[in-house]
């Protein structure tokens, strides 16, 4: 019994150390990425197109919908308590600091995280990773770093888009339901908007991007030999990413408001 527990603990610690080693290796290779003559720039461009550009529509729809719902609810309820001016604070906090980075990270995890983990897992099973090593390409610098940079950049850009669509796009939708003067809306927003809210949102976006890309690539490479391990890697990538994203979100929020 004690031996089993000890072995399980040792395996967990080894896995954690291995994951940390992987993370630091990715960081090290990232610093070298732009200095070396690389054939990986195409991989980076494709990753940004897939993760950033192709997710723009779903991200915009979510942002506009949530922003419109907040405006409608806020402008209906808050005046009853004489707190109409709070609508802008709620809108900014929810859109820029919380839901913007969080929902964008969830979308990226669901789309790109699973895709990255299953694609890399398939490459491991088909010995394509070994083929990269055989021709002189480091799998970390050729396969992981472009995905790491691509996901982080896409995460930041999509979060900015989420803010824009959530704060401005939603205003257009609201005009149909509850007309409001643009000058009044923009004035209220700008008076309430703080730089720290934007920084907090972008900091979270950066951290979430790092989490999604590193966890997904790590899980992809954790596949050993069998193709049945590939979907499992995808599931683990999503589960671990969601868990770490929420933990990171709480930590950043605590730091911001502490």
């Amino acid at each position: 019994m004690l031996e089993t527990i000890g072995r399980a603990v040792r395996t967990r610690i080894q896995s954690l150390l291995y994951a940390l080693g992987f993370f630091f290796n990715v960081l090290k290779e990232t610093t070298r990425f732009f200095r070396r003559k690389q054939v990986a720039f195409k991989v980076l461009i494709l990753q940004i197109l897939f993760t950033g550009y192709e997710a723009l529509t779903i991200n915009a729809i979510m942002a506009v919908s949530i922003g419109a719902a907040l405006i409608v609810i806020g402008s209906s309820l808050l005046p009853q308590f004489g707190q109409s001016q709070l609508m802008y604070s709620i809108l900014i906090i929810v859109i820029t600091s919380e839901l913007g980075p969080l929902l964008t990270a969830f979308v990226i995890t669901a789309r790109s995280g699973t895709a990255i983990a299953t694609q890399l897992g398939s490459m491991v099973v088909n010995h394509e990773i070994e083929a990269y090593i055989a021709v002189g390409l480091n799998p970390i610098s050729y396969l992981v770093v472009p995905r790491f940079i691509g996901v982080v950049v896409s995460m930041l850009v999509l979060t900015v888009y989420f803010n824009l669509f959530g704060l401005l796009g939603s205003f257009i939708v609201v005009q149909v339901i509850r007309p409001m003067a643009l000058s009044e809306y923009l004035g209220g927003l700008l008076a309430t908007l703080k730089v720290s809210d934007l920084i907090s949102g972008l900091t979270k976006a950066f951290i979430f991007g790092v989490i999604v890309s590193v966890v997904s690539t790590y899980q992809g490479f954790s596949v050993n030999r069998s193709s049945t391990e590939i979907p499992v890697a995808g599931i683990r990538a999503v589960g671990q990413s969601f868990m770490l994203i929420i933990i990171a979100d709480v930590i950043v929020t605590l730091i911001q408001y502490a």
Binding site: V39, M123, H127, E128, A131, Y132, I133, A134, V135, G136
Partner: protein
């Protein structure tokens, strides 16, 4: 063999190599020297450890113990530049082709050129790839993806990818598996040409025909252990090593023309561990 090219081709040596996966011992105390500029064939049945031996020799799997020496230098201790030089001068043919599925045949074969000669213009790369694909007998469109090809065609592309940058060291894992007889003959003629150029070739296979036609040196592997390695005729003379069907078929064909003096002496196992072994084989 051209002397200049022969000097470039590295000898490859595995010293006391142990490799296991989980609790399963795959390579058990491998000690073997593949002489520079010669063709060495490792024969063994399925599951004997041939592929793992070849991958360990190429640094594609990291053994738990032992050393892999390329021209006398430890492969696993190579820095980035040394590793790049090694990869630029070596090619590897995988048993199951291992082509990159997400890109075209052209890009698959062009990758070694783009990695090691980034200044080559697109037209030169295209022409070189086109020529090497014709040479190995591939006649389909270069813009197809690997999934569009038969297993045999994928194998040809895999061989083209391994030799497109004219490596001095070529490691081939079952190079003629999945090929029809004509295609296998075609690859044999390419191997003959590479041997004449002085390329160090290591082939892992259970194909006796390939060993008979090309092996300067022959090795027998079973259960992860090298049972014999040395000059082709000498290994065949050791009938106690006739353990597999391939070996039996080889024995039935008899010896060839005898061993050259410079080849490693399999009766003296220490020769394979001796630092002078590589020098003997390359002189």
């Amino acid at each position: 063999m051209p002397e200049a090219r022969r000097n470039q081709a590295p000898a490859l040596e595995l010293k006391e190599v142990f490799y296991s996966s989980g609790d399963y011992l795959i390579l058990d105390d491998i000690r073997v020297l593949f002489p520079a500029g010669q063709c060495s064939v490792i024969l063994g049945q399925a599951g004997s450890g041939k592929s793992s031996l070849l991958k360990a020799a190429a640094g594609l799997v990291i053994p738990q113990r032992g050393q892999i020496l390329v021209a006398g230098q430890r492969l696993l201790n190579f820095n980035f530049r040394q590793e790049q030089d090694f990869r630029a001068s070596s090619g590897f043919v995988f048993q199951d082709s291992a082509l990159w599925q997400d890109t075209t045949i052209l890009n698959n074969v062009a990758m070694p050129l783009r990695v090691h000669n980034p200044k080559l213009d697109q037209k030169t790369v295209y022409n070189t790839v086109s020529a090497i694909l014709r040479k190995v007998g591939y006649s389909e469109d270069m813009m197809l993806r690997p999934a569009d090809l038969s297993t045999g065609e994928q194998k040809l592309v895999s061989i083209a990818r391994a030799i497109v940058h004219e490596p001095a060291l070529l490691l081939m894992d079952d190079p003629v598996s999945a090929l029809d007889e004509d295609a296998a003959d075609h690859i044999s003629s390419i191997l003959e040409e590479l041997k004449k150029k002085g390329t160090t070739i290591v082939i892992a296979t259970n194909n006796s025909e390939l060993a008979y036609r090309h092996a300067d040196n022959l090795g027998v592997i079973k259960n992860g252990r090298i049972l014999a390695f040395g000059c082709y005729d000498d290994v065949l003379g050791k009938v106690e090593f006739a353990l597999s069907g391939s070996m039996a078929r080889l024995l039935a064909r008899g010896k060839r023309s005898g061993c050259a003096d410079h080849l490693p002496d399999i009766d003296n196992p220490e020769i394979m561990e001796s630092p002078q072994a590589g020098q003997r084989s390359t002189t």
